[in-house]
Amino acid sequence: MFGPGAVGGYAGALLARAGHDVSFVGRGEHFAAMRANGVRIRRDADEFVAHPACPDSPEAAGPQDVVLIATKAHAIGEVAALIQPLLGADTAVVTAQNGIPWWYFQRLGGAWDGRRLASVDPGGQALALIGVERAVGCVVTGAFAVESPGVIRAGALARYAIGEPAEGISPRLASLSRAFTVEGLEAPARARFRDDIWSKLLGNASISMICVLTGGTNGTTVNDPGTMRVVRAIMAETRAVSEAIGARFLTDAEDRLLAALRTSTHRPSALQDLERKRPMEVDAIIGAVCEIGRVVGVPTACADMIYALVRLRAEVAGCYPANPGFALGTVI
């Protein structure tokens, strides 16, 4: 587990409890606590402590069968360099990150196959240093939080859906799915994984980004007729972009809006990041939608505006790692 915060820490703890040989590679207070006392998981009545290895460095851990990257998506280039000691020829690198993954155009087939996604992998480091052959996608669904250093609280649902850039269920994917499906963790192998990505993105690119600008919750955003219009406009653009590039939506926009109403007091993680002055995933969540829209020739007028506003908001707050490699006017 590289960068085991709440999402990586939870999966790592469950896998360690199930008998896998799990190492955490991380830094900071949370990592130090897990190293000293193990990682404590709280999920309803299920509370336990797991003791994954916490080596000093990637070098100390050495090559792995699977590396799960659970850092923020904006850091993927930097992470790609750091995880080199963990990689062997057959290592699967699973990116459990929000938004569009760096490998989106790789093995996509069709007219846009092999393009680089400037918004997510501006220097091409992920492509060069991880390589598409190692890449496995992961869309995480559930609520995870670091309650205090070393302690992770999780909701009832913990689904880590995984998929191949080439789509289909490869033997590797099937075996990963079997290995990751342990008590407290679902890891379905998805044959059309890009559909899962877009379905999750539908709410993140719209409701979450608007909450970043307004400071509002899911509920205030979808209950206000003015912001609701903006939500619908971004959802429609996101859907049009995804369909133009061959994805099929698993979630209807209306269902997503109802889900937001059911979780009306929820403050999206991107807003929490802003409030805590942590780096924000702006490019992978909405910048990439704008970029892919330009590639496939689908206008994203509303998403462009929200992207520009959120990016500057994050930059002013010190939560946006400079991404000079991508601006709305430049598509590689």
Binding site: G215, G216, G226, M305
Partner: protein, 335 residues
Amino acid sequence: MKICVFGAGALGGVFGGHLALGGEDVTVIARGANLAALRQNGLKLIAGDKERLAKPRLTDDPRAEGVQDFVIVATKAYSLPQAAEAIAPLLGPDTGVVLIQNGIQWWYFHGLAGPYQGARLNSVDADGKCESLIGVARTIAAEIYCPAEVTAPGVIRHGPGPKIVMGEASGARTARIQALAAAFEKSGVTAEIAADMRLELWKKLLNLVAGAPLAVLTGATNRPLNREEGTRAIMSRLTAEAIEVAAKVGVKLPLTALDRFKQPADMAPHKVSTLQDLERNKPLEIDAIVGVVAEIGRLVGVKTPTVDMVYALCRQLAVERGLYPANPGFALRYF
């Protein structure tokens, strides 16, 4: 000349102070700590290294002051309906009420010949209080050109050469507005009488409609807003939509106003007052600056999609922070 200044903030202080120093019979209406400081120390005006002390009459009770020749209402736009109630005892049939609020003012369609004559602007006068209590015949609209801030209660620092551009809402060059202009000039305030204040309101609005809401949403000063391509594109669209709406109500604004958004501009750093308000947890003037453009667009059949979006975001932000002055009727009716 009996002049009351309602709202002893920075601009009320600058103009009330100058008129008092110029020998006019000025009463400043203030409250709380501000009033106490003014009573104790007078009204201090600081410009550069020059300090002057004005001694206007002071009160917190407009009812005791009687009918005035002029009332200068120096509040934010969202406070004007409330101010209209408070100043009612000061108004006689001939009193001139000078309104310095940003944005499009409530009287805009009153006396404007054409299909929209008399239309009420719910974004700035939802209950019609300004219309019924001030009335268009008393209204003198004004634009202020003078940076000013309250540095301590009763102490105001301002830029050199305060200037006021004003005109009767009716457009007439009345005896009273000429008398007021003369009083300002005698007091060291440059006063211009404008023939068409509707044009002046739009010109000032064009300076605010793009930069102010984007500063609020991003927390950025004008420099990054004008550097980034994405935010320049939004500001250009906001300005273009405002120009189109203005054109539909007969005000021709130059399209050259859009030129400044074409290239990254390196400008002197400036934090728009709306962002300063946000940072100081003061209510935001978004209805008069942004919402009103959307409202007039709806009225006259001009689509304003960018203004709508930015207004919705700003309004929600203000609501979340508790900085949206109560005007729920407008937004709900509007959307």
